[in-house]
Amino acid sequence: MPVIGMRAANQFIRSLGVTLLLAGCSGPWNDPNEPEKPGETVYYGSYSSRLQHLDPARSYSAEEALFIDQIYESPLRYHFLKRPYVLEPALADSMPSVRYLDKELQSVSAQSPDLAFSLYTITLKPDVFYQPHPAFAQKSDGVPLYLFETKEASQHFKTLSDFPVSGKRLLKAEDFIYGIKRLADPANKSPLLGFLSNYIDGMSEFSQTVKDVPRDQWLDLRKFSLGGINVVDERTFTIRIKGKYPQFLYWLAMHFFAPIPWEADRFYHNPGFQKRNLTLDWHPVGTGAFMMTQNDPNKGITLERNPNYWFDPYPSEGAELDREQGLLEDAGKPMPFIDRATFRLEKESLPQWSKFMQGWYDRSGDDTHNISSDNFDRAFVVSGSGIDLSPDMKQRGINISTEIKPSIYYYGFNMLDPVVGGYSEKKQKLRQAITIAWNMEEFLEIFTNGRGQAAMGPIPPGIPGYKEGKAGINPYIYNWVNGQPERKSIDEAKRLLAEAGYPNGRDAETGKPLVLYLDTTGGSSGPVADWRRRQLENIGVQLEYRTSDYVRFKEKIRDGNTQLFGWGWLADYPDPENFLFLLDSAQTSGNCKCDGNNSTNYENPEFDKLFRQIKVMPDSPQRIALLDKAIDLVRRDNPWIWGYHTKEYYLNNSWVYNTKRHGIAQDTLKYLRIDTKQRRQLQREWNKPVIWPLITIAVICLLIVLPAVIAYRRRQNMRVSSVQERED
């Protein structure tokens, strides 16, 4: 046996040697990326959760938008560099023009009381083509090439790459109409159907009609008309909106309004395609700078340059400092700059981070920054003046992109709750006391390493209505001390609590301790949970957790069965309306008979009145004045424990350029440029394998086998010893 063991060990060492040799030839051993084709520029990225939908009508998540927005384009888009956020035409030739109509569809002025509709007219860029796709392939007589009668006829086509022929097609106005109709078709389960039906004229009627149409395979939506949207000519179409809704332009920059070629929809409805996951939900067809060539759970997602992409030059103007940071160096050059982008699923931030540090990923993350507080101290040094890269990172040439998303995280009080809800002064004080005790600055310090900013009200920075400095502080929670906001003291909170009827956290009459219940989905333990409990302990209030899964949690919020809950909002567009509507009484679940967005059930008629005015106003000083009033109202009522606005830092390896993060838009891949030579060189430098452990292990194996061999030899030569001894 030991002989065999030896032989095995030999073999092992030899085979190891071979593998090492093989690995040695092709660069570092730990390269997780697939070999590149020569001359190709590849971007390596990652995403953190399995994608569910890539259908622009259906997807409504940031991770999915990371891909969808590279492939689909909408009439408008955000300017890559300019801040505050500015819309610019994308597929549209120019910004849409708007006209106001009355009920009879006659033009009226913007201020007219008869105003019933707004009519948006959009004209497209000429000569925009879709990506090559088999759906567009035609026989010589113009009949689509890939149209099958039965499952069996198409069974040889397992993946998109099995279709040898693909075609090219010009973008037309009707494709937008088709796309909007798809939003309205309940079969596509668009999350926006309910919401947009309130605005687009004729949309709900359309979905009622289509809902009941019997369908076998593909339903040609072109056969049904949707009253509010019309084609004017091949490059022009109009959308009729009920009433006035200036924020509608922002919606036109989202992928919901991307054009969908009906050929693609028909193609994916071929019999048997669904069974092979050949669906629009999995294989997008767009006009964007990239097209998806692979979507495979094993290999991840690959985007390739769309050969038909229109001439789209890199912007030549930007925000201040952009030029200094080299963000305008590529001005005027046609995009995209990379040929291929591969994204791998990295469910956990840890391996992602390590691979980034080894140089295998170009950025620390694409959909999330992946810098957990554990890695934070390695990446950054925090000085009094702010955050800076650690010397190690600087030496590696890594640079930071900051992203401030228009978002807010907060803890909501359920205003219907008998303990924390209500609008009396006592209750206001109770909520204010709790908010003071809830030390957000400490939270940010411990758990996000200061990445974020404590919220002063519902409006995040970068959005009209947000104010810096003394004017912007929340006077109920903060004092202005030494040119800085300072959270009021715990004593102040205790005083407020006593005034609210709970001296030292005990009911003034019965002595019963005040116990608050926080509804979470995350579980009730861990550092954050401990921390929360401690915040309330500071003012003598006890905190209990009611955990549940996401569905139950939503249900509790919908039914108003919560007391205190953690919640957040990521804006769809950079307008204060998109934040204040979270407190609009029309948005409570009870009032709208839906999953209302006003999850705290805040209902203040005064606020509602202000909100309705703010909603339809264009940005102006008057609007800001109204905003100030509204914000003061909610600060006093304090329906939220004002949480924080995130501020995220993404790291980029030195070979990546044009990495500016946009808080809202995700279609930024086309701006990106990569220096592949530098990348290859640094990767080699950073990934020299440590070989001594391998040798040590081999030696140890030998050391174990050797005594076994010796012992066997001895056993073979053994005699009956005791007898010998006696005789010798």
């Binding site: 056993r715 073979q716 030569n717 053994m718 005699r719 009956v720 005791s722 007898v723 010998q724 006696r726």
Partner: protein, 535 residues
């Protein structure tokens, strides 16, 4: 080789357990083996005879250690050889066969391969020659159709055939010495006789020196030329076979010889009234097969037998293993389902009684099993074991009465009253069988079914248990259905004998008639196979 010169001599061999506190297992054992001669080591279990043989070729288990002695083979001391040198001796010069042929053969190798292995190790024959040699060997040991059997697996052969294969393996390299460790104990008497004959023939024709290890004086008498009697790790007496049997020097040897049953005195057969009558009893077990598990065949364990047992009478039911004798006993006790036929006890049909209806009769019919180790629940005290029947059969005795009865019963079977607080494993095999008898007697039965009650016991204990049974019969007038494969104990015990084969009774009659004037060939065969002391 000179006939008189010993091939193997063992001198002053001592073996002990690794743990030094315990007594040595072997003490100064010395003996010699001569070519062409069969030397028997005889003794009861635990006397050290197997250890002697294993020590001689250095196959002792790890727990045992040789402390002194020499094993001279070809003039060289085997204890001085290395392990590697030993492998050239084992199988080649000294071969061994063991008691349990089935377990001693590798179950997953064909018999031919197992013989071939020895040839491969010790000879230079090529593949064809090896195969021929194997077939020769197999036919020499008397295996029918050796050309086909060579490719059979051990489990496909019968017990006797397996032992023949073992012998073939042992003989493959034409050894000088054959060590046979209880080669026939697990075999039926008829087969035992054939195997012993084979060994005897081989010793003569091949000039083999045979070390025969056995506990059976009958086997010794029939086979060996010289005998060594072992007791507690020592050879207490050694000598010529004739001499030992005629003039045993040691008390222990005398006891061993005396324990061989006397086969000249028979119990007279009376004809009392029938206590139990069996007519046309059939016990068949279904064999299921196929997708739907339909019953395809029936195994006919007991196939249409008639029997009767008189009051105070002992009926011996004899036969080889698998003949259905145990099933008959179980059927009477209603432990197996009866297929057809009638069983009547005291003219009362009992074969149709329900479990509850059977209860009163359970007091009348009791049972003693073969294996004294598994027939008592190890988790119960002797008191509880004996009184269990009294309790469950509702004899309406108070606790004190039961205890008194247990004491009485223990004394009756010659055990101490204090023993009632002990657990079964604290007793020896013979004592346990006494407890089993006491348990059966506890409910004052009229008929006791004794299923091989002595076959697991050493010879000396066996005699004691048998005489106790007889004593009880004389005193209490119980009847016995005595199921056994051992014809030698029958004369002293049974009034009548029924011989069973393949589920049928082939011959029945008074003991003396059947044993001395057998009418059937099968009975004759059985009888001739019994080793005898007196010829």
């Amino acid at each position: 080789m000179d006939n008189s010169a010993p091939v193997l001599s063992v001198e002053n061999l001592s073996v002990c357990v690794n743990n030094p506190q315990q007594d040595p297992i072997l003490r100064n054992v010395s003996f010699q083996l001569n070519p062409g001669e069969i030397f028997a080591l005889v003794g009861e279990s635990g006397s050290g005879k197997s250890v002697t043989s294993l020590a001689a070729i250095r196959l002792l288990p790890d727990a045992l250690k040789v402390t002194q002695g020499k094993v001279l083979f070809d003039g060289a001391d085997l204890f001085h050889s290395t392990e590697r040198e030993m492998t050239a001796v084992r199988g080649n010069r000294v071969a061994m066969i063991f008691q349990e042929a089935l377990t001693s053969l590798n179950p997953v190798q064909k018999v031919g391969v197992q013989i071939e292995e020895a040839l491969l190790l010790h000879t230079q024959l090529n593949a064809r020659a090896r195969r021929e040699k194997i077939i020769d060997l197999l036919s020499e040991v008397g295996l029918p159709h050796p050309e086909t059997r060579i490719d059979w697996y051990p489990h496909q052969l019968s017990g006797g055939q397996q032992q023949r294969v073992m012998i073939a393996i042992a003989l493959a390299c034409e050894p000088d010495i054959l060590i046979a460790d209880e080669p026939t104990t697990a075999l039926d008497v008829t087969i035992q006789k054939q195997v012993l004959n084979l060994i005897r023939t081989l010793a003569r024709t091949r000039q083999l020196a045979v070390l025969l290890i056995t506990h059976d004086m009958g086997v010794v008498r029939e086979t060996a030329q010289r005998v060594g009697v072992m007791l507690r790790g020592e050879i207490i007496e050694e000598g010529n076979c004739e001499q030992i049997f005629r003039h045993p020097q040691q008390e222990y040897t005398r006891r061993l010889i005396a324990s061989l049953p006397n086969q000249d005195n028979f119990l007279p057969s009376e004809q009392p009234d029938h206590l139990l009558t069996i007519k046309g009893l059939k016990v068949h077990f279904p064999l299921r097969k196929g997708i739907l598990q339909r019953i395809h065949v029936w195994t006919k364990a007991v196939d249409d037998i008639d029997l009767h047992i008189g009051r105070g009478e002992t009926l011996a039911l004899v036969g080889e293993s698998g003949c259905g004798k145990t099933t008959t006993g179980r059927a009477i006790l209603r432990l197996d389902q009866i297929t057809s036929g009638t069983i009547s006890y005291n003219n009362q049909h009992i074969h149709k009684l329900s479990r509850r209806g059977m209860l009163p009769l359970r007091r009348r019919i009791q049972v003693i099993f073969q294996d004294p180790y598994s027939s008592m629940n190890p988790r119960m005290t002797v008191q509880r074991i004996i009184e269990e029947g009294m309790v469950s059969l509702k004899m309406d005795l108070s606790h004190e009465q039961r205890e008194a009865r247990v004491i009485e019963l223990l004394e009756r079977v010659k055990l101490e009253p204090e023993h009632r607080f002990r657990y079964p494993h604290e007793f020896s095999g013979g004592q346990r069988q006494r407890i089993a008898i006491a348990r059966a007697l506890a409910v004052s039965p009229e008929l006791i079914i004794c299923d091989e009650p002595t076959s697991a016991l050493d010879v000396s204990t066996r005699a004691e248990v048998l005489s106790l049974l007889q004593e009880l019969q004389n005193e209490l007038g119980v009847s016995y259905l005595f199921i056994t494969h051992d014809l030698s104990i029958i004369p002293q015990l049974a009034h009548r004998v029924a011989v069973m084969k393949d589920g049928k009774i082939v011959e029945t009659g008074a003991t003396e008639d059947v044993l001395t004037k057998p009418r059937q060939n099968y009975t004759r065969e059985l009888l001739s196979a019994v080793p005898r002391c007196q010829e």
